[in-house]
Assembly symmetry: C2
């Protein structure tokens, strides 16, 4: 017998988070599929490349853990130089914090009593925790809860970049909220602004993306000036992601980048194109789902053991890493049907092949652990400790 809160707490503290060391390395072709594998060489390369790029431009990296949901990876990013992490949800923040990560920004507001109290409990143990707010009434509720617990909570005002998802309107409404925080919320510390234009991340074509994103962010810059003209200091301006990492420095507004996908990449990002290329290939795909060919019911078709439960299906279909001239068709929850149009290699029953993920975040969220691969072998498993923690 347990209370619901105790059960939730135990699921956080009890989540396996450390690497599971194998007593002997396992060749990748012996993994039970579908298996989520990381090419460690490419992963390391992506991690270093982004950090080096941002270091040179004096832009902080507040890497978004909503993508990988893995404290092991978050620690690697921080060790490489990231200033901290973002989480999309309170339970992701709980998992990160219980695993020793302190510089955490929760990028999506919460509004209910029980979620607000969970944020306050985290902040009581971790003065570095920051929250976004986008509403005066909710800000007051946070202030009251912080006051009841005798703590101070750092907050950023979340500005709607115009996509209508979260955030307060730029300009006067954002200023009102900032004034409310500074003037009326003694237990909240106004740290700055967040403006994440998610709908710009995947705009196709570098120049197109640069122009539209720069235009969208003008409202953010104007809001920052408005606050400063009112005597409100804006220490942090957090925003941007993998799709705008090389655009932010030219705008000069953000203090830190909320990038996530750059470590793994996916087909969706590859397709947006990069500077001087129709493919965005600054970062290489390092995440794959290893699948097995399990049936060949008809000529020119072969079925693999990975469908809607192994790949996110919100965007395009998956692709093989090493086979061309074939088309993947969703075959249901557990199957993909491969149309062998003009295959660059034969695929036989039992073959295990890596596939690129269409959209990395919700694909990762389907698995309990990563198999990191180096030289064709797996030596340990990395638990995806925050998988499924959408609360």
């Amino acid at each position: 017998m347990t209370t619901l809160q105790q059960f939730i707490d135990q699921s956080i503290t009890g989540a396996v988070s450390e690497p599971v060391k194998l007593s002997e390395p396992v060749p990748v072709e012996q993994l039970p599929t579908p298996a989520l594998i990381i090419d460690l060489d490419l992963f390391d390369q992506n991690l270093a490349k982004m950090q080096h790029f941002l270091n040179k431009r004096n832009l902080g990296l507040r890497c978004h853990t909503k993508m990988h949901k893995c404290p092991i990876i978050a620690r690697k990013q921080i060790a490489a130089g990231a200033i901290g992490v973002c989480t999309a949800t309170v339970s992701e923040a709980e998992i990160m914090q219980v695993n020793g990560i302190t510089n955490i920004l929760i990028t999506s507001t919460v509004v209910t009593k029980e979620k607000i109290s969970r944020v306050i409990r985290l902040a009581a143990r971790n003065p570095m925790l920051q929250m976004v707010v986008d509403n005066i009434e909710i800000a007051s509720r946070f202030n009251e809860a912080a006051s009841d617990s005798g703590i101070e909570l750092g907050v950023l005002v979340d500005i709607d970049p115009g996509m209508g998802r979260t955030g307060i309107e730029a300009g006067a409404p954002a200023l009102s909220l900032a004034k409310h925080l500074v003037g009326k919320c003694q237990n909240l510390r106004f740290d700055g602004l967040q403006m994440y234009a998610g709908d710009c991340m995947h705009l196709e074509g570098f120049e197109n993306r640069r122009k539209k994103y720069t235009q969208v962010m003008e409202n953010g810059a104007a809001t920052k000036r408005l606050l400063e003209a009112s005597g409100i200091e804006v220490q942090i301006f957090s925003g941007g992601g993998t799709g705008t990492f090389d655009i932010e420095p030219g705008i000069g507004l953000a203090t830190d980048l909320q990038a996530g996908s750059y470590v793994f990449m996916d087909i969706e990002y590859r397709e947006i194109g990069g500077e001087g290329s129709d493919r965005f290939n600054t970062f290489e795909p390092s995440l794959f789902v290893l699948v097995t060919a399990i049936s060949k019911p008809q000529q020119r078709l072969i079925t693999v053991d990975a469908g809607f439960k192994s790949f996110a299906s919100d965007k395009m279909v998956p692709e093989f890493r090493d086979v061309e001239g074939v088309i993947y068709h969703w075959g249901g929850d557990e199957h993909g049907i491969i149309q062998l149009t003009n295959p660059s290699r034969e695929i036989s029953l039992g073959d295990k092949l890596p596939m690129l993920t269409p959209h990395c975040d919700p694909t990762v969220n389907l698995y309990d652990y990563y198999y990191p691969v180096r030289d064709g072998k797996v030596e340990e498993l990395w638990p995806i400790a925050a998988r499924g923690r959408s609360q």
Copy 2:
């Protein structure tokens, strides 16, 4: 330090599977969202209705656990009269078997050495376990592994209904495989046929569905006759699902129905229509995702905390159970943007509302446990022990 196989075994035996009893009931409006809730009254009603329907027609229910992935629910289905369960994957079968369920049919073949040995290990402890095969070479591998372990494994020949996903071609190829099993595979016991026409389940309109499905299954009937004419007894003919539950009896071919979705239902099934109705409402939706309205960045829009990580996105968008005149738009991994076209009720920040799931199976696969609700309260949690077990 552990071997990979030990780690996998421990994850099966260590999976929390029994109900988690709460020391005090929790009102549904206090659940942390997004939360997967079951309306127990409707759930019980669906369960009884299907069993009653099939009992009257002397058709067995081999309920498919790929949908709910929960031993607690499987036990309830068996207690109500189901003859056993199906699983789509070996690891689902492992979870069911370790939780005391014995009459298990694995409905999708496996082909690799390590997966075959996992099936044989299960069968060594459970003579009721059955496997499908759709290929002569793979059948021989199964036979060898069964022989090495000194056991007999019951198998069904999986017939491709023409959708090209899994299964051997109906007619002569299926007969060859059956003859191979009977004649050459001493450690395999030929139990019958499986033919699951997944692509017929969601055909719109009852009459349209009935006609096409009946036509497709003619190949199955012909194959059965072919085997019997060759002196091969076909004890089992397993197939069909929620979409054809009321069509199977008219065909008279299947000995048991592999239905899963009928306990929960979803928007996809509702839309196919039923006999005499443009909605398939023999079974009522009993599964919902409880979401919270967390932001209102613009007039006529309100954002809820459930996106691609809380709903399967392979089909249509989710819908509110109790609010009309609004449209859900995917807002990314963690958000849904609700367009307030002509809302039948006001939605305020903090409101918690149940939403129907677009496609129940891959939605369930995103959650670790169900919150079963009766009279507005939750008294225990049901772990989704086979969640993520796509291997």
